[in-house]
Symmetry: C2
Subunit: 219 residues, 2 copies
Amino acid sequence: MRTAYHEQLDAFDGALVEMTRLVGAAMTSATESILDADLGKAEAVIRGDDAIDAVAADLEDQSMQLVALQAPVATDLRVLMSGLRISASLERMGDLAVHVAKATRLRYPASAVPAELREVIIEMGHVAERIVERTGEVLANRDVPGAAGLAVIDDEMDRLHREMFAIVLSPMWTYGVEAAIDATLISRYYERFADHAVTIGKRVIHIVTGEPYNAGLVD
Amino acid sequence: MRTAYHEQLDAFDGALVEMTRLVGAAMTSATESILDADLGKAEAVIRGDDAIDAVAADLEDQSMQLVALQAPVATDLRVLMSGLRISASLERMGDLAVHVAKATRLRYPASAVPAELREVIIEMGHVAERIVERTGEVLANRDVPGAAGLAVIDDEMDRLHREMFAIVLSPMWTYGVEAAIDATLISRYYERFADHAVTIGKRVIHIVTGEPYNAGLVD
């Protein structure tokens, strides 16, 4: 029989999955805003971050109450304590989408992305969508092989990050220092977004197996 | 009378303070490595990060065990659950020191810092030292006004971050795009280092007052 306690635990898990959907949608809109120099879309991402922060704050309350009232042990305790940190990673992924949107706003009505970089930003946007969607599935199913597989998608992001540097540093780059700085920071936001997904995957592995979480492997 | 449980809680707090000392020392060495193009110092910072990660992993174990065995409530529970996230911030601050050290290594035997940027990097290093030292005091004393004061030190870091952009974008900048990208990333590592200190301050306020933690204010 399902108890109220187990329903609350399920709701906690469900809210984490919902957060992956919210930050995924935020990053998709942020990517569109920067590719199209779309100020309205950028502003919507920036405003929308409050909703993501609110879910994170609510998850923190829930986990504190469940730990205090139910004194969970073993897997349930790991779900709640690791869930807190997963929520912190997701909240930060939302912030990174906001940073991309703010780059759009900073250069509007000009574009923050010269034509030479469009393709790499489009690909980074796709990889960000893929990794956050997989992260949601990994969380929903406590999928350990899937969690380990997030690192493979992250490798793709790292490759794109290096490609962006190669473009900006090539003799063909005619946009000067400011555009290079914009590109560096935007690219780093996508790279960090994917890093956080990998961190979440490691937390899921910890929840399922009880093996110690190893932060060192992430950097 | 002090119980073994309270001694464990004190040890948990003490380990967090010790982590501030470790990441502070790492950032100080990283700053010296980048100013002096000192490869040995950079390598020591990179190697030393394992010790910081080990303290973080140990804190995670301790908090799980204390929560599972002692079923703490109210402030004690907040200390343990917020402590987990404080430890994650400190671990990340250690990573940022490593990133600075890796910038040293990447450009060695050349310097990653042109003469025009020396002064701003020296100041960023000082602000990083100050904010992490204050963070240790705030943690040790659960100092709420001190915690709020970390944002003032962070403002100083943000000012230096903007100053760095002004130098790199001025017509006097003759070092080209690659040096500008290095400077952008290095400066961002210091800026994020200080952001994490502010986040820790907010967590300390949450521990003391029980008021909800507000992530939104940090970004």
